[in-house]
């Protein structure tokens, strides 16, 4: 588990946030529930958190969502900002189990990654987001749980497909350290 916030993490947070903000507009609507759509940026967040750890994931989720909302929609929906940060932290906590940077991301790691992302998404969107909606905005319970459930569904699909693809692709390009063996 990495908890330090070095130069690489500073830059990764910055660029990750910029990518997240830009991808805010790339959405595939899910139907008639407002503000829920297939969001490729969720895959980006999962990927960055899995590579760089919980601090990067958390700040990127928080900042990226808040900035993206503010820049494109002119309002910040705080009860949906924090779940994104939480999701980043959860996936990031397990980053050492995925070994994406080391190039060891294969079938076993992909399964781990997907189990974690489903748990993270469930916690973030089925539990935390609706509760915050009710607590902060006093919205009707039925509406926010349906909304949360669709967000969960959309995100696990997107992260499952695109996130896994990203991790596989990057492990293939970036992974070189595993070819070295330690000399006695």
């Amino acid at each position: 588990m990495k908890s330090k916030f070095g130069i690489k993490e500073v830059v990764a947070t910055g660029i990750g946030t910029a990518l997240f903000v830009v991808l805010t507009t790339v959405q595939i609507p899910l139907g008639f529930i407002p503000n829920t759509a297939l969001q490729p940026r969720a895959a980006l967040l999962a990927f960055f958190a899995a590579v760089f750890g919980p601090v990067v994931g958390g700040i990127m989720g928080l900042l990226g969502h808040a900035l993206g909302d503010a820049l494109f929609y002119g309002s910040v929906w705080w009860s949906w900002v924090f779940p994104d940060a939480l999701f980043g932290i959860i996936v990031g906590l397990f980053s050492s189990y995925f070994s994406i940077k080391e190039g060891g991301f294969a079938k076993k790691e992909a399964i781990r990654f997907n189990v974690i992302q489903i748990i993270g998404n469930a916690l973030a969107w089925i539990v935390v987001a609706p509760l915050l909606d009710i607590l902060i905005y006093a919205e009707p319970a039925k509406k926010v749980f349906v909304q949360g459930f669709f967000a969960f569904l959309g995100n696990i699909i997107v992260v499952g497909i695109l996130g896994t693809l990203l991790a596989l692709g990057y492990a293939k390009i970036g992974g070189k350290s595993s070819s070295l063996s330690k000399e006695d």
Partner: protein, 274 residues
């Protein structure tokens, strides 16, 4: 009209305020309007928002597109709330005054209308604050302000990098998207859901891997300049706080406390006229 909000320099008194003051305004304003459902407080805040927004001389050209989006989301949200729970208002205010029967088990009540009216003015209170904060705050000064309110400068620097690179990343995105479109990859709603996800991958992967390369380049450059060596750093665009800043901050804190006291005086967040 620009699709994205951007900072533009105008020489109004709001521009002269430091980033710290504007950040505080943005945070307090959105927190208070988030908590309170007191219609009187919200209406006063709405009035302030509109007046300050006018004073900041932000043009329609800057915010028009975004404003239309806000309206669209607002309408959608209001309609959906009604369909999911048409009697949320009655539940909150404890009475039920029907105006007219609509269909099935749906009826329009005065309480529901009032509840949704409150949601609407909440949107209209926060929106000008956000628009103004984004349009009048210099990005690099914003990073300096974050550091000043106690956030570690590493994080402040991340924010600065994010704001600096949003346009660059957006340019990358457009370029990649056009290149893939030229290769005949369908991005519009004509394609099926699954193939749209697959096609998104053809943009997402190059974009993110370009980003990863960029991270290496920038962090190498920063490492060579020994970033992070000291516990503190100074900021080029930091400005000293002036009298106007202190005045605005004091007003904000007093106003927020007053608004919250007024909201919670009768034991609930809601103002009940019924």
């Amino acid at each position: 009209m620009s699709r994205i909000l951007k900072y533009e320099q105008k020489n109004t008194w709001i521009d002269e305020l430091t980033g710290v003051t504007k950040l505080l305004f943005f945070l307090l304003w959105s927190i208070v309007s988030m908590i309170t459902y007191d219609t009187r407080v919200l209406l006063v805040m709405l009035l302030f928002s509109v007046v300050i927004f006018k004073m900041s001389e932000i043009s329609w050209k800057q915010v028009g597109t975004v404003f239309k989006f806000i309206l669209l989301f607002l309408c959608l949200n209001l309609i959906v709330i009604f369909f999911f729970s048409p009697y949320q208002g009655s539940k909150i205010y404890g009475t039920r005054t029907e105006i007219c029967h609509l269909f099935g088990s749906y009826a329009m009540t005065k309480e529901q209308l009032f509840y949704e009216f409150n949601i609407m003015i909440k949107y209209f209170t926060v929106a000008p604050a956000v628009l103004m904060f984004i349009c009048t705050t210099n990005p690099s000064e914003f990073a300096a302000s974050l550091n000043r309110i106690g956030i570690p400068y590493h994080v402040g620097y991340s924010v600065a990098i994010a704001l600096r690179y949003i346009p660059d990343v957006q340019e990358d995105f457009t370029r990649i998207k056009n290149a893939q479109a030229a290769r005949g990859i369908e991005m519009s709603s004509k394609a099926s859901l699954f193939s749209r996800i697959k096609n998104t991958a053809t943009i997402l992967l190059p974009l993110i891997f370009t980003g990863m390369e960029r991270i290496d380049t920038i962090s190498n450059a920063m490492e060579l300049r020994r970033f992070g060596l000291h516990k503190k750093r100074t900021w080029y665009s930091e400005r000293p706080l002036k009298a106007a800043d202190y005045a605005v901050m004091v007003f904000l804190v007093v106003f927020s406390v007053g608004a919250l006291i007024l909201t919670f005086r009768n034991g609930s967040r809601f103002y009940n006229p019924f």
